[in-house]
């Protein structure tokens, strides 16, 4: 039990918003900031701080470009991020199995 909980913590995904961002990124290619914001129903600042945390872990890649005159920021999950997400999911599933 303790082990599982520490795995959940180690992946740094023991947070609803960070896990939410990763869930969207693992099943999509490049995702826009705006799309993430709408899907997760967050404010700019809140989403940005969690994205920064994921960036620091090298879980996601950031791409900034201009579409016309508007800046557009898109994100993609890295291999490391994908792995961490999978580990986290597996741990969650184990947790459920233990309880049943």
């Amino acid at each position: 039990m303790k082990e599982i909980l520490s795995i959940l913590k180690e992946t740094k995904l023991d947070n609803r918003i960070r896990l939410g961002i990763m869930s969207i990124l693992v099943v999509n290619d490049w995702v826009e900031f705006k799309a993430l914001k709408a899907l997760l129903e967050l404010t700019d600042g809140n989403l940005a701080s969690h994205i920064k945390a994921l960036e620091k872990e090298d879980y996601i890649l950031v791409q900034k470009k201009f579409v016309g005159k508007k800046p557009q920021t898109t994100y993609q999950v890295t291999e490391k991020g994908k792995k961490a997400f999978e580990v986290h999911l597996a741990a969650l599933e184990q947790l459920i199995d233990r309880r049943n």
Partner: protein, 214 residues
């Protein structure tokens, strides 16, 4: 919510986010039902214009059509006008019911939404190709081929866009495609095939999806 306290709820949320970000789940079964009804009305007008009844085999509808002038229209303008009303009717009722469901499901359906855009492009490109193809058939007076052609292109359009929405769309696509191909071998029954594919199948799948997802 802390994932440690309720892992099942967390997994459920992950699943929901994955689905909402990759699949257009706001498509309403009611859109299918209304499109089916509009298609049946449209095909009803065709029968009225040609003064024929379903499964009547004394004449072949696409040979009769050349002589008919009715309601101040020849067959070309009638077919184009009828197709226009059926398509706009189906699209607008489809958009209406989809918006209504999207509000309930909290899924954005704006045209700028990447997912909506992908779904529409994948649906509309084969449909537009089919539309041009039909206009060419019409210009060559090959109206007997119109019904099978619309079914085939519509089936392909559904197959092409189904990966962005419910799996039922793929099954509907296969059925429309098969009906269209079959109709090519039984041209005199084109209108009946068309009514079956665009009318009854839409209603059937609409009801099925409505009961499954709403």
């Amino acid at each position: 919510m802390n994932p440690k306290n309720n892992p099942s709820a967390t997994l459920e949320e992950i699943r929901s986010l994955m689905e909402r970000s990759t699949r257009f789940i706001s498509l309403s079964g009611l859109s299918g039902i209304s499109a089916g009804i509009i298609a049946l009305i449209g095909v009803g007008f065709v029968y009225a214009f040609l003064e024929t009844i379903p499964f009547e085999s004394k004449s072949v509808y696409y040979e009769e059509a050349f002589q008919i002038k009715k309601w101040g229209l020849n067959y070309v303008s009638f077919f184009i006008l009828n197709a226009f009303f059926v398509i706009t009717g189906a699209i607008f009722s489809g958009i209406y019911f989809t918006y209504r469901k999207a509000k309930k499901k909290r899924q954005k359906v704006g045209i700028h939404d990447a997912l909506t855009r992908r779904l529409l492009i994948n649906l509309l490109v084969p449909l537009a190709a089919g539309g041009v193809f039909c206009l060419a058939l019409l210009s060559h007076h090959l109206i007997g081929l119109l019904a099978p052609t619309t079914l085939i292109f519509y089936g392909l359009a559904l197959l092409n866009s189904s990966k962005f929405t419910y799996g039922d769309m793929r099954n509907l696509g296969y059925l429309e495609l098969c009906l269209g191909l079959l109709a090519l071998f039984f041209l005199p029954y084109g209108l009946e095939f068309w009514a079956l594919g665009f009318g009854f199948l839409h209603i059937f799948y609409g009801v099925k999806m409505y009961r499954k997802y709403e």
